[in-house]
């Protein structure tokens, strides 16, 4: 038992999410192997880019670029850039009806379970990825304790924003039933704008503006910027504030969509 039975219900759901993931250690190892392989390919091409630019490119040097690569690879297990969720399946199959009958907020419960799963993934996938990067390639870190603390806050906020945003994809299922198209669109756009393969700091200005107007950088790019110390001081606080803003917006939207979707919900078959 991770959390006492008398703990608030959402906290217990987070713990349940953690327990669910600990049951599949091989899956976690597989994810790590894939992430680290991609990490080394990214290191090769991105460090060559920094070198070609003369050692510094839009505020990135070898240390911050390496930190960007390994922290973002480590976050991949925790930040949902695929758009697939369990709740989406439950809305499609109609099982969500059972969830509505429970004395629980469907939206909050789905997000809490997801957050639990994502937080757990930091251990088998996040930490080893960062350690491998730090040992084999070397990377930049924040220069102050406050920087580390803010980085931790930013990372948790990023994970929660990812869960509340991906819930919105699932919630379109109340109207669309089949959400595959939306999910694939989410997958393509989120990876690009979250800065998965190329940090958004290298984007041309118009594209950077587009990315900044979406919640995607809040999931991965901002936590990476704060954790690597590339952005520090009040600028870092600004990024965390932006994340908090997106959390409020996406969570409120999720509440609204769930409430309206409940009235719209049609269960097919019998």
């Amino acid at each position: 038992m991770l959390v006492s039975a008398r703990a608030p219900i959402l906290l217990r759901l987070v713990a349940a999410g953690v327990r669910q993931q600990t049951a599949y250690p091989l899956a976690a190892l597989a994810g790590l192997v894939a992430n680290v392989t991609f990490g080394f390919l990214k290191v090769a091409v991105l460090l060559a880019t920094v070198e070609a630019a003369g050692g510094e490119l839009n505020g990135y040097d070898a240390g911050t670029m390496s930190a960007y690569i390994w922290i973002s690879q480590g976050l991949l297990g925790s930040v949902n850039l695929f758009g697939r969720t369990e709740i989406a399946e439950r809305i499609k199959s109609g099982d969500v009806v059972v969830d509505f009958l429970r004395p629980l907020d469907v939206h909050a419960a789905a997000v809490a379970t997801d957050v639990g799963r994502s937080l757990w993934a930091l251990l088998p996938r996040g930490v080893p990825s960062v350690v491998i990067g730090a040992v084999v390639v070397g990377m930049a870190v924040p220069t102050s304790v406050a920087g580390f603390l803010l980085g931790a806050v930013s990372m948790v906020l990023g994970i929660v924003v990812s869960c509340t945003t991906v819930y919105l994809v699932a919630a379109t299922g109340f109207w669309l039933v089949e959400t595959r198209g939306v999910q694939i669109l989410y997958m393509v756009v989120s990876g690009f704008l979250a800065g998965l393969f190329v940090p958004i700091g290298l984007f041309p200005t118009p594209l950077f503006a587009v990315a900044s107007a979406t919640p995607f950088p809040s999931m991965m790019m901002y936590p990476v910027d704060v954790l690597s110390g590339r952005v520090a001081g009040w600028d870092a606080v600004g990024l965390v504030a932006a994340q908090a803003g997106w959390l409020v917006v996406t969570a409120a939207l999720g509440q609204q969509m769930t409430r309206r979707g409940r009235h719209k919900l049609e269960v097919q078959g019998g």
């Binding site: 091989l26 192997v33 392989t37 080394f40 090769a44 060559a48 070609a52 690009f192």
Partner: protein, 274 residues
């Protein structure tokens, strides 16, 4: 002997019937199919954008400028997309194994791999291959290609070898799935990691990566090395420029690897019961 011959003809027509039904099925949900095509087009465009962002921010990476990397990208993406269309659904094997549905495949009097490969064909990947083809054509126009019969032969060889290499990669991954089951994601390291690596200049890789993606999974041979040979660029340290001509040898090795992985995997499977 006549009966054997007749049997073979029937077998092939069965495969054809399955594939034709799959294609009709995908195209019949028009809205969904259009959306699928659109997203798969978008995937190609986004990957292109990522490369463009990198190569326009500096003057060339690993000895390739934007025009040259577009040629590498077009070649690799076209052959990968075609292989993905034919073999990509091998990725569904873990689901079949977990659910036990693969048992049915074992019971039919046809080769398991042939059944798996012909069980589906993902038409939506045409869109992605289209991006690769367009990029390839543009790249051939903007690069200073020394056109000759040899150059055309090199390109055709590279494309066909790439197709075989990537197809073999999917089969290798499928063979591993019999052992991994819950760890299915592990093969993404060399299938999708390999695809990502194939669109990079291999000259930026360190020694371990050259061994892994240059030779063991011969990704560098699908596009980078043939392009280096075609354009007469320096290429990999200490290796001859004509290495691009060896793409068919690399493809052959990939086939051997896939046959081995598949054979061992199929024999390992013991059924899920019930």
């Amino acid at each position: 002997m006549a009966s054997t011959g007749a049997g073979k003809v029937t077998d092939l027509s069965a495969y054809r019937a399955v594939l034709a039904s799959r294609m009709r099925a995908q195209a019949s949900y028009r809205a969904s199919f259009a959306l699928d095509l659109g997203s798969s087009l978008l995937v190609g465009v986004v990957e292109l954008a990522e490369i463009a962002v990198l190569y326009t921010s500096v003057h060339g990476i690993g000895g390739l400028d934007l025009a040259a990397i577009l040629l590498v990208f077009g070649l690799a993406d076209l052959s990968f997309s075609l292989a993905d269309m034919a073999f990509g659904h091998c990725d569904d094997l873990p689901t079949l194994i977990r659910a036990g549905t693969i048992d049915v495949f074992y019971l039919r009097p046809q080769p398991l791999l042939a059944q798996l490969v012909t069980s589906d064909i993902s038409l939506r990947r045409i869109a992605r291959g289209g991006v690769g083809l367009v990029v390839l054509v543009i790249a051939l126009a903007i690069n200073d290609v020394p056109w000759s019969p040899a150059a055309v032969l090199l390109l055709v060889l590279a494309l066909l070898s790439g197709l075989v290499t990537f197809g073999s990669l999917f089969v290798t991954a499928a063979g591993c799935q019999f052992f991994l089951v819950n760890g299915a994601e592990m093969t993404n390291a060399f299938v999708y990691g390999g695809r990502y690596g194939a669109t990079q200049p291999a000259s930026v890789w360190g020694r371990p990566l050259v061994v892994l993606f240059g030779f063991f999974f011969p990704m560098a041979f699908t596009a980078y090395l043939p392009v280096v040979t075609l354009l007469g660029l320096p290429g990999l340290d200490g290796l001859p420029t004509w290495l691009g001509w060896c793409a068919p040898v690399a493809a052959l090795w990939a086939v051997v690897l896939a046959a081995l992985a598949w054979r061992v995997g199929v024999r390992h499977y013991q059924g899920a019961g019930g």
